[in-house]
Amino acid sequence: MSQAERHPVSAPDFMPMPELQATQLTRLQQIVGRAFDNVKLFRQRMDERGLKPANLRSLDDIRRLPFTVKADLRDTYPYGLFASPMRDVVRLHASSGTTGKPIVVAYTKADVEVWASVMLRTFAACGLHSGDIIQNAYGYGLFTGGLGAHYGAEALGATVIPISGGNTERQLMVLKDFGVTAICCTPSYFLHLIDHAQTLGINVKDLPLRAGVFGAEPWTENMRQRIEAGSGIKAYDIYGLSEIIGPGVASECSAQCGLHIFEDHFLPEIIDPKTLEPVPDGAEGELVLTTLSKQAMPMIRYRTRDITAFITEPCPCGRTIRRIQRIGRRSDDMVIIRGVNIFPSQIEAALLRVEGTLPHYQIVLTRVADLDQMEVQVEVTSAVFSDEIRVLEELQKKLVHSIEIITGVRVAVRLVAPKSIQRSEGKAKRVIDQRTL
């Protein structure tokens, strides 16, 4: 345990279990009361079950509470799940939803402070401290990644370079010239950066860069080894989602073995996605999170769709907060590409907008030069077929544009011959993932 990891703000990471659980219970009772008093949908669901916040007497009682799912955010778009009046909301972010409308999340001033503190704890767990120069290549904007990492890094006392995503050559110039010691981005983008550095004759191993804080997409142990071998840095996995707060829900530590959940703010459960019952400790299941301190938008038992398991052994780093295994897959068909969530239903909505009817389509994911690529293959129909190239190219452009409007990501669209996409008997296989992580 280095001194640097023991930032005072990180104290809750090392709290004795009974103390932590007492904090969790107090906060859970408060937040459930807050949601009950202010969020209509939650109150209705509690009423249906004949439950009152006062029924919560132990942490185990959380199992009696209703779940929240992504569709609830969509159905109450934009502000229906807010528990604070707008005058108390100081920030909104949005992430892509399932049918074209984004999902809107809100923060009070206190929420923004909690967010900065959990991101500070994330950076501290990754061995960063004041004096570090952090290149933040997560996207700034509605996406929670950029600003989430930004305020955490500032709170840590580090120097933040808010470069945002994209523009590889400029990223490399800054990386090389600014004395950068740590970088935040998606792991696939960092692999792309080190490969591109090579073509420019820059050896990342010669730079002061020593740590990468990587998240917003699933990645594997193999990829970590490639990154570390190719760049000479330590690569850390972090986890978060906008519905809960953004980045800062969980983070690896110096042990690089599982992610510690900042469970004084986010109470984790792992359930069987079919029976909705808790799985035995250490078994795989769907991660369910309850925000314990979020004022503007409390999430009670939010089903993340991410599959993981608790790691039951104590962590060598000394943190008492529980660890989960790194997340490699999800229980639904959501695709994460360049840090953005995309659902096949969004692609459908985009195709429908252009063509009026839904053509047969398929989403093909590949990884080219370590960057995730998504191609939407669309079968040409008689209705849209023209014998002029120009008209077909126009159609292709419209489809690309429509998908970009709905998902926020520019992807390739390929027009393919009729019947060339395999038909399935049951549920159509919409996503073909050819990425080898």
């Binding site: 040409v380 129909t381 008689s382 077929f385 023209s386 014998d387 002029e388 190239i389 077909l392 190219e393 292709q396 390929r414 027009l415 393919v416 011959a417 009729p418 019947k419 060339s420």
Partner: protein, 144 residues
Amino acid sequence: MKIHQLSVFLENKPGQLRMPCDALAKAGINIVTLSLADTEQFGILRLIVEDWAKAKTVLEAAGCIVKLTEVLAIELADKPGGMARILDLVDRAGLNIEYMYAFTEKRADKGVLVFRFADPDAALKVLRNEGVNIVSPVKLLNRA
């Protein structure tokens, strides 16, 4: 006289051209002429065949997306300046060509230009008035 042309969507990958050609061969339909337009990802096969209605049925049954378009076939002497003269007429009449292709004849010393105009009827009227030799479907098929 306008000529019926069939356009077929093709993906730009090996083997794609063969399927429609096989289907036509099996049905005993002769191709008078064809042209291929392509981009990086896809192409359009444009066909003039003996029996366009039957060919369309055959191709659609084989799973092709087929579009029927009207084109004009113009016969001209196979010698320098022939095409330039036609294009001059087209320009002066303000006719818009979507695309065109050409082929020469086997026996006679003639060439045939196939035009897809934005407005085939207007083009037909103008060119006929100018005395251009517009080939009828029957004649076009007989010479193949």
